[in-house]
C-alpha cells in the first residue's frame, strides 16, 4: 500500500506532475519578468497540456506509427522510473547501492528517444534536429556524468541517499566541489535542451527539430516528459550538491528541499534569459575543450583528496 502511494502520489507521478507544471510556470514567469513582460498565469502549463491532449494528432506519412507513438511514452517512462530513486526531502520510493548509476542511465534514455524521433521522421527539419541532438548529447554527457560521479567518489558510495547523508556530516558538495556543481548545471542545461543550448529545436533554424511533425496527444506526452525531466534533473542536483546540512537540521526537510530546488531553477531561468543560443560546433568545442577537461580535473582532484 505504501509502495503504491510512493509510486503514484508522493514522490511519484502525482507529485511530479504538479512539480512539472509548477516549475514550468516559475521558469516562464521568471524569464518573462527579466524581459519586462508579465508572463503567463499559474495555470498556463496545465492549460497547455490539456489543450495539446485535445488537439488533432496528425499522422505523418512515412513514419512508423508504433515507433512514433512509443518514443514519447518511453521517454516519460524512463524519467518516471529515474524519479523513483531520487529522494525528495529525504523520501524516495526506493533506494539501494548503485541507484545513482541507474538514475543517470535512465535519464539518458529521453535524449536517445528524442534523436530517434527525428531519425524516423521523413521531414528535413526533424532529421537535422536529430543529428544536432545526438551531437549535443555527446558534447554535454561526458562532463555531466563525470561531474555527477565526483560526489559519489567523495562520499564513497553510489547511493544517492548516502551522498545526501554524507553532506550532513561535511557540508554541501556545491561548496566543496564548486567546479563540479557548475559543470553539472551546464550539463543539465544541455540535457534539458534549454536556451542557450536549445540547438536541436532552434525555432529560427530547424523550426521544431525532431518534434516538428508531432502534435496532439503525443506532443503532450513529449512536453510532459521534458518538464518532468527538468524536475528530476533539478532534484538530482539538489540531492548531490545541496544535500543535508547541519545548520538547517532544525528546519522541516520538505520546504528546505523545495527552496533549494527553486534556487537551482532560478539559476537555469536566468541562464536562459541572459545568453544567446550557441551554435552546435561551438557547443562541441566547449564540451570537449573546456567542460570535459575541467570535469576530469574535478574527478582527479576528488580522487587525490578523498582517496
Amino acid at each position: 500500500m505504501m509502495a503504491l502511494y510512493r509510486l503514484l502520489v508522493f514522490p511519484g507521478f502525482g507529485f511530479l506532475f504538479v512539480c512539472a507544471m509548477l516549475f514550468d510556470w516559475i521558469d516562464r514567469r521568471v524569464i518573462a519578468r527579466t524581459q519586462e513582460r508579465v508572463g503567463p498565469p499559474w495555470y498556463q502549463p496545465l492549460a497547455d497540456f490539456i489543450k495539446l491532449l485535445a488537439k488533432e494528432d496528425v499522422r505523418t506519412e512515412g513514419v512508423h506509427e508504433v515507433a512514433a507513438a512509443g518514443l514519447p511514452i518511453v521517454s516519460l517512462a524512463s524519467v518516471l522510473t529515474a524519479a523513483l530513486y531520487v529522494p525528495v526531502g529525504g523520501v524516495a520510493a526506493a533506494s539501494y547501492e548503485g541507484d545513482l548509476i541507474v538514475v543517470l542511465f535512465l535519464l539518458s534514455v529521453p535524449a536517445l528517444a528524442y534523436f530517434l524521433a527525428g531519425w524516423i521522421s521523413p521531414g528535413v527539419y526533424s532529421v537535422i534536429g536529430g543529428h544536432r541532438s545526438l551531437l549535443q548529447y555527446f558534447s554535454y554527457e561526458v562532463p555531466f556524468m563525470m561531474a555527477l560521479a565526483s560526489p559519489a567518489v567523495l562520499a564513497g558510495s553510489w547511493r544517492i541517499m548516502s551522498i545526501v547523508a554524507y553532506q550532513g556530516q561535511a557540508t554541501w558538495l556545491a561548496l566543496i566541489q564548486p567546479l563540479g556543481f557548475l559543470l553539472a548545471i551546464v550539463g543539465l542545461i544541455g540535457k534539458l535542451k534549454r536556451d542557450p543550448l536549445d540547438i536541436p529545436k532552434a525555432k529560427s533554424e530547424v523550426v521544431g527539430g525532431p518534434l516538428t511533425e508531432y502534435s496532439g496527444r503525443k506532443m503532450a506526452i513529449w512536453h510532459l516528459a521534458m518538464d518532468m525531466q527538468t524536475v528530476v534533473g533539478i532534484f538530482l542536483l539538489v540531492n548531490l550538491f545541496l544535500g543535508e546540512s547541519r545548520f538547517l537540521e532544525a528546519l522541516p526537510a520538505f520546504p528546505v528541499f523545495g527552496a533549494k530546488a527553486l534556487a537551482i531553477l532560478l539559476l537555469l531561468s536566468m541562464a536562459s534569459a541572459l545568453y544567446a543560443r550557441l551554435r552546435i560546433d561551438q557547443l562541441a568545442n566547449l564540451g570537449w575543450r573546456v567542460l570535459a577537461p575541467l570535469a576530469l580535473l574535478q574527478v582527479m582532484a576528488t580522487l587525490w583528496v578523498g582517496g
Binding site: 527579466t34 524581459q35 519586462e36 537535422i128 542557450p196 529560427s204 534569459a273 543560443r277 551554435r279
Partner: protein, 360 residues
C-alpha cells in the same frame, strides 16, 4: 554525409516576409543555395499608372511597412521636382524628423529580429520595448504608429506646437539612454558576438561589385550616405556622424545600425531645435507638367531611387522604384556559401531584408 535539401520559406519562423530558399545541406554545412522571390509582388508600379498623383501617395506608402515614410517622401520630391515646387523649410524639417524616427524604428525592430533569430529573446524584448517609445512619438505626430500618411505633394499635413515639441524632446532623452544601452550590449556581450562575428563577410570589393548600399555597405568599409553626399536639405545644416566599420560581418552591420540609431536620435533633436517657422506645405497643381524626375533618399536599408515620368495629365506615366533590399539580396548566394546551417538565420537577419520592398 547525406545531402538534404532544406527549404527556408516561403513560410518559416525565421522570415518576416515570404521568401524562398532551397539550401543543399551536408550535415551542418550549406553547399548550395537557390533563391526565389516574388511572393509579395503586388504590381504596385503598374497600379501607380492607374491612379492620380495624390492617390499614389497612399499606395506607395504601402510598398513597405517599415520604410513607408521614406518611400512617399522620395516620390513626393520627384513629383515636386516635376511641378517645379519650392517647399517651405518647415516642411523639409518635419519630413526629415519622420525619416529619422523611422530609421530608429527600423533598426530597433531589426535588432529584435536578429536577437530572436540567434536565440537571444531578452534583447528582442528590450529592443521592441524601446521601439514602443518611437512608435508613441510617431503616433502623437501623425496618428499612425507604422503608417503615417504625413506627406502631401507640396509638403506635409502635420504640424507641431512648442508644447508638443518639448514632449518629443523628453521622449527622445529616454530613447537615447535605451539605445545607448543596447549599443553597449552589442559591443560587449560575448554570446551575441560569438554568433555574429565572422559570419556573412562581404569585402569592400564584393560590396562595390554588387552595388550594395546602406548599412551593409557601410559595415564593409564603404562610406556612403545620401543625406550627407547629396547635401539634402535639411541635413546639410546638421551635425551628425555616419558610422562605418570595416569588418564586413554581421556583427559590423549590427554595430553600424545601432550606432546609426543613436545618430538619428541626435538628428531628431537638432531638427526639433532648429525647426523654422512658416507654412508646412504649398499648393500643388493637379496636373503635373510633362517630364522625368529621378530622386533618391537614404532609407533605413540604403538608397531608394524613384523615377517618375509625367505626360502632363494627373496620372503618372511611369513610376519606377529601386529599393535597397534588392542589392542586399544579390549578395545572399555569396554569403550563404559554405556556412553552417545555424548561420543561415544569422546571415538572413544580418542583411535586413524587406521583401515587400524588393517585390513591390
Amino acid at each position: 554525409m547525406s545531402k538534404l535539401v532544406v527549404p527556408i520559406g516561403p513560410q518559416h519562423p525565421l522570415l518576416k516576409e515570404p521568401l524562398s530558399f532551397r539550401l543543399t545541406v551536408e550535415g551542418e554545412r550549406v553547399t548550395e543555395s537557390a533563391m526565389r522571390l516574388g511572393y509579395v509582388h503586388r504590381g504596385i508600379e503598374r497600379l501607380c499608372q492607374t491612379r492620380t498623383y495624390v492617390q499614389n501617395i497612399h499606395l506607395l506608402e504601402r510598398v513597405c511597412g517599415i520604410c513607408s515614410h521614406v518611400h512617399t517622401t522620395t516620390y513626393c520630391r520627384a513629383v515636386e521636382a516635376l511641378a517645379g515646387l519650392e517647399l517651405p523649410p518647415r516642411a523639409l524639417h518635419l519630413r526629415a524628423l519622420l525619416c529619422e524616427l523611422e530609421r530608429i524604428h527600423s533598426h530597433m525592430l531589426w535588432l529584435g529580429v536578429l536577437a530572436r533569430n540567434v536565440g537571444f529573446d531578452t534583447i528582442f524584448m528590450y529592443a521592441w520595448r524601446d521601439r514602443e517609445i518611437v512608435l508613441d512619438i510617431m503616433e502623437d505626430l501623425s496618428g499612425g504608429r507604422v503608417s503615417h500618411a504625413v506627406n502631401v505633394i507640396g509638403g506635409v499635413r502635420i504640424d507641431l506646437d512648442d508644447a508638443h515639441r518639448d514632449t518629443i524632446l523628453q521622449q527622445l532623452d529616454l530613447l537615447e539612454d535605451q539605445v545607448e544601452w543596447l549599443l553597449g550590449v552589442v559591443e560587449h556581450e560575448r554570446t551575441l558576438q560569438a554568433r555574429t562575428r565572422g559570419i556573412g563577410v562581404l569585402t569592400l570589393a564584393d560590396v562595390r561589385r554588387y552595388c550594395v548600399v546602406g548599412p551593409v555597405a557601410r559595415a564593409s568599409g564603404l562610406d556612403i550616405d545620401l543625406r550627407r553626399d547629396d547635401r539634402q536639405a535639411p541635413y546639410d545644416q546638421m551635425h551628425y556622424e555616419v558610422p562605418v566599420h570595416d569588418a564586413g560581418d554581421v556583427w559590423a552591420r549590427t554595430l553600424v545600425r545601432v550606432k546609426e540609431a543613436v545618430e538619428s536620435v541626435h538628428l531628431c533633436r537638432q531638427i526639433l531645435d532648429t525647426l523654422p517657422a512658416g507654412a508646412v506645405s504649398v499648393r500643388a497643381p493637379r496636373r503635373i507638367p510633362a517630364g522625368e524626375a529621378v530622386t533618391r533618399s537614404e532609407a533605413p536599408r540604403g538608397e531608394v531611387i524613384y523615377y517618375v515620368r509625367s505626360d502632363g495629365s494627373d496620372h503618372p506615366a511611369r513610376v519606377k522604384i529601386r529599393t535597397p533590399t534588392l542589392t542586399s539580396l544579390i549578395t545572399l548566394p555569396d554569403q550563404l556559401r559554405d556556412v553552417a546551417m545555424a548561420d543561415v538565420s544569422v546571415v538572413l537577419s544580418g542583411v535586413d531584408l524587406c521583401i515587400a520592398c524588393a517585390d513591390r
